[in-house]
Amino acid sequence: MAVAAHAVLGRRTGFLHDLATVAGRALRAVPREPTAVIPAVLVPAFFYTTNLGALEKVARYAVGFSYKAFLVPMAIAFAVTGMSRAPALVTDVQSGYFDRLCMTPVRRLALLLGLMAADMAVIIVLCLPVLAVGFAVGVRFVTGVPGVLTFIGLSALWGLAFTGIPYAVALKTGSPAAVNASFVIFFPAFFLSDAIMPRQALTGWFAAIATYNPVTYVINALRALIVTGWDARVLLEGLAALTGIGLVSMSAALLALRGRVAQQS
């Protein structure tokens, strides 16, 4: 019987190291799974062109400015919402790899936030083709380059705010079907806003719901950067709405993470 005579190499590291390590793994996986990203480019392009084709002449009177510009935030919302590594997290849970990660000294929070950090990086990249389509059809930002950068930043925050939901579902259920279904939450939140028609063109119950729908305010903040300029009130309302959505979804994700690791020492 031999007795170990070597020094253990493992050591605890900082939270940022854990975060970067988890995010790095997630980012390396993205180009290997193009099917996870391609819909995020095709779907907004499809909705953008079909809505433009179907509604541009009608909307021109209601919008009061270029409908092409009006619809860009809608396209961005489709590109960035639901873009997450939650399906990969489900695979990790099902394969036992999540358990392997949990048996390392990595901080549990980094296992979730690292994926979200990777999502933000992907979302920023995904904004570019959507903006390119907008620029190609003649859309211009009245706020210039700083406005474009702010637009991308707000879009990234949008994606992050919504991404907590699929992670919560992934951690809670460990089911790929449930994660895919979680995207459905986005549809009523999105279509019951002024994403496709301006609020003044909405009537009755629809207008009332849109008024209280936080998505309306995020869309308006993004839209303002393109067509009306630096409107502090609109931008702050957008940020507040994002904060609210983010608090709800992140709380759900963190609770699900806590539940997932609750049985551990």
């Binding site: 019987m1 031999a2 007795v3 170990a4 005579a5 070597h6 020094a7 253990v8 190499l9 493992g10 050591r11 605890r12 590291t13 190291h17 854990d18 390590t21 790095g24 793994r25 390396r28 996986a29 290997r32 799974e33 990969a88 695979t91 990790d92 394969s95 036992g96 790899y97 358990d99 392997r100 990660l101 949990c102 048996m103 390392t104 000294p105 990595v106 049985q263 551990q264 020492s265």
Partner: protein, 332 residues
Amino acid sequence: MGMPLVVEEVCSETVDTEPAIRTDALVRRFGPTSAVDGIDLVVRCGEIYGFLGPNGAGKSTLIRMLCTLLRPSAGRAVVAGHDVVAEPNEVRLRIGVALQEAALDNAQTGRELLALQGRLYGLGRDSVRRRVDEVLDLVSIGAAIDRRIGTYSGGMKRRLDLAAALVHRPELVFLDEPTTGLDPESRARVWSEVARLNRELGITIFLTTQYLEEADALAHRVGIISNGKLVAEGTPDHLKRSIGADLVVARVSGHDPAVLDRLKELQGVQMVSRVDDALLIAASDGPASVLPVASLLYASALQVDSLTLRSPTLDDVFAELTGSHIEVAGAR
């Protein structure tokens, strides 16, 4: 079930270090069921300890508690000198784990997975590169290390899983049924690698298995678990010898309760038990006992289908202690 059968042997080496694993009355309950029911265990540094039991006996639950994946319901476990509940991160730094069903990410290459594992343990870039090369020397994966894990065979995945458990150079490695589902050739390779890790690096290995030959071939000491309880412990040889030098096994049909008592009265018979359709007759001198046993059985109301003389196995130990077999249909 009473106190576990403990078969001690005098250790050829004095190991005066703290035990690698110590559990005191460790319990894990799931609702009303106790999957692990008061296990006291001491695993010495540098040994290969085999934890043997059938499916559902509590092996995996115990290993998950020792690896900090599952909080004990009661009792205490100290692994690599640290309490699994009070200092889980200290435990995690010192152990390597390969759980049942190789837990890998099919989208990564083998090398990427090992490097990630190293970084999660805080190894620097150079250390990671060096350690990946070192563990690849230990487990033979070859050029496939740069292929996606999804393309690996079951045996390669198990070896990669083992390599991942070693990247941070742990002092204690847990292997949960490391060869279940592998073909005989892959199983033999895993065995030889496990033995080499222990022999050359002195790594303490705690392995669970439902394969008797695995425990027999690898383990310095074996613990036998049944229904969450440790029912026997000792070296494989001593455990087997504890039920007799030889074993006469008679496959019988019919019912004759008196035959067991009559068999026990035969000269040289040390122990008799019935497990399903088999009568196990342990004897100090098997060849000399075959004839009297056969005569007695043929004179009884039982119908004898076969009569075999062989050496005891760990399954016989288990059968003697629990009345059932470890190896179940489909386990191989």
